[in-house]
Each structure stands twice: as structure tokens, then as C-alpha cells.
């Protein structure tokens, strides 16, 4: 910085003169006016910024989670629909001796590699329209790696469950002709399981009801109500329990039927 001027013996100002010039109120008011408002302070910005980031992160996580759930549901629905329409009895016959057939399903979220395990059912009826195999969809959330012990055990359980898949007129999932349904009185298992109880959900004309049946038989009145009120609608037979050869009670896979004309 350059010194612009040097004054010699400039007139001195007296202390009383300087004191007269004091104006504390002016300083106080100016200070109040120039004080940084709260919304401009770094604290405010820090708090607001952090909260915003937290909210955005929360929303993103929730959306991601919902998307994942929806994708999972959509994939399961897709696999169920395609399984009944695409796989016919011929496929079932071909696949009969195979344990597990992995089929890739395309509509899935990234990082989720779906594997569908399908096994052929024993064909009881020769009507290719009404007979179907069944499919259980399983989704692995990680890329395929060397199977672990638990995975192998799980696979065995599936296998045993699949072996005991109950059917009505040989159909476990999908469309069933109304006449076929009417003429069938029993829920049967494809292996040595004896069905002991099950639950059936249907519309009785007034409301949706769930009937618990302790038998492998389908009561006539229920059958008639189903035929009367649930045509072209899905019927769910769940909670199916059966006794195996060793006398153990096992929970068996459900039956989903669409009764058509």
C-alpha cells in the first residue's frame, strides 16, 4: 500500500470533541440491521441441508423397496400365468423324469436372478386342455454361486413337497373345465400322501368365505356354490395337509383353479 500523504503538525482533536461524536444508539441500530438473519446463518443451512438429504435418501430407499416388492409380485404373477398356459401335458411328460428344470424369467429387477423350478406331474387324465403340470417359482436374490448346504436341503424339501402336490382332476394350477370339476369328488396327491384337511376360499353369492374341510373330499354343496358363483374366477385351495408313508403330517402346496365352461 502506498502512503499518499504525510501531514506535519495537523490540528489535534480534543477528547471532548471526540466524545461529542459518540453515538452508541446509532451503532446499536446499525448492528441490528446488519446482523445476519437466521436463515442466512451456516447453522440454518446446515440443519436444512442435512434434513433435506435425509428426506431424499428416505424417499429413494422407500421407492426402491416398493419397486423391488412390486417387481417381485409381478414376476411371480407372470410366472404363474405363463406356467399354466405355456406348459402343456406334452412338456410335462417330457419333463417327468427330470428333477428340476431351471427356466429364466425375463421380467425381473436387476441383481435378482430368477430361477423357476418346474417338475412334471403325473398325468392322470388324457385331456390335454384340462391337464397341466405345476410350477413353483423361486427367486434367488444373488447371482448363482456354488450351492450351500442349506440350499441343497431347501431343494430337497421342495422336491419332497413337489412330490406331494395335490390336484383336482389332475390339475394343480390353472383352468379346469366345469364338468371336470363337477365330476371330481376328491383332492388327490400325486404320490403316497393322503390328504387330511384343506381350506377353500370362494364366493358364496353373498360374500367371500373360507371353508375348512377335514377330509380329502369336496362336499357337494360347496362344489355347487363354487360352480354357481365362481365361474371364470380363481379358487384357492390352501392349507392342504397330508400324511406321508411314515405317518408324518406335511403341509402341501396349494391349488389355484380357474373354473371355465
Amino acid at each position: 500500500m502506498e502512503i499518499k500523504k504525510v501531514n506535519l503538525d495537523r490540528q489535534n482533536l480534543s477528547s471532548s470533541y471526540i466524545e461529542k461524536k459518540q453515538d452508541f444508539n446509532h451503532v446499536l441500530n446499525s448492528a441490528k440491521m446488519t446482523k445476519m438473519p437466521t436463515w442466512k446463518s451456516p447453522w440454518f443451512y446446515g440443519a436444512v441441508g442435512l434434513s433435506s438429504v435425509a428426506i431424499v435418501a428416505l424417499v429413494l430407499t422407500e421407492n426402491n423397496f416398493k419397486k423391488q416388492e412390486n417387481d417381485k409380485k409381478a414376476t411371480i404373477e407372470n410366472s404363474e400365468t405363463t406356467s399354466t398356459s405355456e406348459l402343456n401335458v406334452q412338456d410335462a411328460k417330457e419333463n417327468k423324469n427330470k428333477d428340476i428344470v431351471p427356466i429364466l424369467v425375463t421380467k425381473v429387477q436387476e441383481n435378482i436372478e430368477p430361477v423357476r423350478l418346474a417338475i412334471a406331474d403325473e398325468v392322470k387324465d388324457n385331456d390335454s386342455e384340462t391337464n397341466s403340470n405345476y410350477v413353483i417359482a423361486e427367486f434367488k436374490t444373488e447371482s448363482t454361486q456354488v450351492p450351500t448346504q442349506s440350499f441343497v436341503e431347501e431343494k430337497k424339501n421342495y422336491k419332497s413337497q413337489l412330490m406331494g402336490q395335490p390336484t383336482i382332476a389332475g390339475i394343480a394350477s390353472g383352468k379346469i373345465n366345469i364338468e371336470n370339476f363337477r365330476n371330481t369328488n376328491l383332492i388327490e396327491s400325486n404320490s403316497s400322501f393322503e390328504i387330511t384337511s384343506y381350506e377353500v376360499q370362494y364366493y358364496n353369492g353373498n360374500q367371500d368365505v373360507t371353508a375348512v374341510i377335514r377330509s380329502n373330499k369336496i362336499p357337494e354343496d360347496i362344489k355347487e356354490q363354487i360352480i354357481k358363483n365362481n365361474l371364470d374366477e380363481m379358487i384357492f385351495i390352501t392349507g392342504i395337509k397330508g400324511i406321508d408313508e411314515s405317518g408324518k403330517i406335511r403341509k402341501l402346496p396349494s391349488i389355484n383353479l380357474l373354473i371355465t365352461n
Binding site: M1, K5, V6, L8, D9, I18, Q22
Partner: protein, 190 residues
């Protein structure tokens, strides 16, 4: 060299001052006693370095305004409150020079010139007085501010160190070097 009694205070005075500060940190209106106590000192410090009286008063007000706004940041470190005010004053003053609102001016009195001639071990003649006056006008700002504080404002090295944020010894050394430079300028002229 005289000692500035307003700067060098007893412990009792320092404690009293600290209690004012604490009160003012909670309630700005309690800043009044501190303003009254230091207004003249700060004004004289500013006016010593510039020419315009009104501007000097304005900058003084700015200094106290800033002090009031930043009082919550003030921490007592065993030195008088005025050293903190001086630092704000220095910053405001140099800002006004940078903004070209004011011009850097050095104000000297004749008797101070004679004292300085003594310091550089020359004869106190009118000719030397004129030569010294010219040498001072050619001195660089950083040396000028040390000479100004030490010889025109009669500040102790301790006080200088606290205002300039350097140690007392460093203030001593820097002032000695500034005097040497002034001597060189004085002798070059002759």
C-alpha cells in the same frame, strides 16, 4: 517511552472489563460502557492513519458495529479487549484504503520528528527535520506502521505485538529493522 494506561490495565480492571463483555454477549445494549471506554482510542488510531475526519468517525462506528455483531465469537486470552478492537479497526481501515474510500496518510508532529532524529543519532536541526520528513514519506507501509505505533503513538512492544498479532520480541525486531531502513533512506538522501 511512556506507557498507555488505557491499554495496560490492572487485573481488577481487566476482570471488570470481562464482566462487561460477558453481559454484552447476552445483551447488546450492555455494550455501552465498552463503547464509551474505547471510542476515543479507536478513533485516534484510525484518524492517525487518514486525512478525513468524518470518514474516520464513520470507520470507527463500523468497527464498533462489527465488534458488536461478532462479540459472541470473542474469547478472553489474557490481553485487553482493546487489542481485539484494534485488530478490527486495522482490518476496516485497510479495507477502506482498498476500496479507495480513504487515502493512507501519515500524521506527524514536529516534536515527534525531533525524537526520531535522536533515535537515528543525528543532529536535531531544521534541515535534518526536513530530511527525515521526506524519508518517512518514502518508507514502505509495513515499516511505517511500526514506526507510527512505536514513536508517534508511544505503544509498548507488547501492545504492538498484540495488535499486529506477533510476539513482543518479533515486534521489537521488526521495529529495529524499520528504523534501520529509515536511517538508510535518511542517509541516501544526504
Amino acid at each position: 517511552m511512556t506507557v498507555n494506561p488505557m491499554y495496560h490495565q490492572t487485573n481488577q480492571r481487566m476482570e471488570e472489563e470481562l464482566s462487561w463483555i460477558r453481559r454484552a454477549q447476552k445483551d447488546p445494549e450492555s455494550f455501552g460502557p465498552l463503547y464509551k471506554k474505547y471510542h476515543e482510542q479507536i478513533f485516534r488510531y484510525i484518524y492517525q492513519r487518514m486525512d478525513d475526519e468524518e470518514q474516520a468517525f464513520d470507520i470507527t462506528s463500523q468497527v464498533f458495529m462489527k465488534a458488536l455483531n461478532n462479540l459472541h465469537k470473542y474469547e478472553y486470552r489474557g490481553v485487553p479487549f482493546s487489542s481485539w478492537l484494534y485488530r478490527i479497526a486495522k482490518s476496516e481501515l485497510y479495507q477502506s484504503f482498498r476500496d479507495r474510500k480513504a487515502e493512507r496518510t501519515v500524521n506527524i508532529e514536529s516534536y515527534q520528528l525531533f525524537e526520531m532524529i535522536d533515535e537515528i543519532e543525528e543532529d536535531t536541526s531544521e534541515v535534518n527535520k526536513k530530511r527525515l520528513f521526506e524519508s518517512l514519506s518514502r518508507l514502505k507501509e509495513k515499516d511505517m506502521q511500526l514506526i507510527e505505533m512505536r514513536f508517534f503513538e508511544k505503544r509498548s512492544f507488547k501492545e504492538m505485538g498484540e495488535i499486529l498479532e506477533i510476539t513482543e520480541n518479533n515486534a521489537k525486531v521488526k521495529t529495529f529493522r524499520a528504523i534501520e531502513k529509515l536511517k538508510q533512506l535518511f542517509n541516501t538522501k544526504s
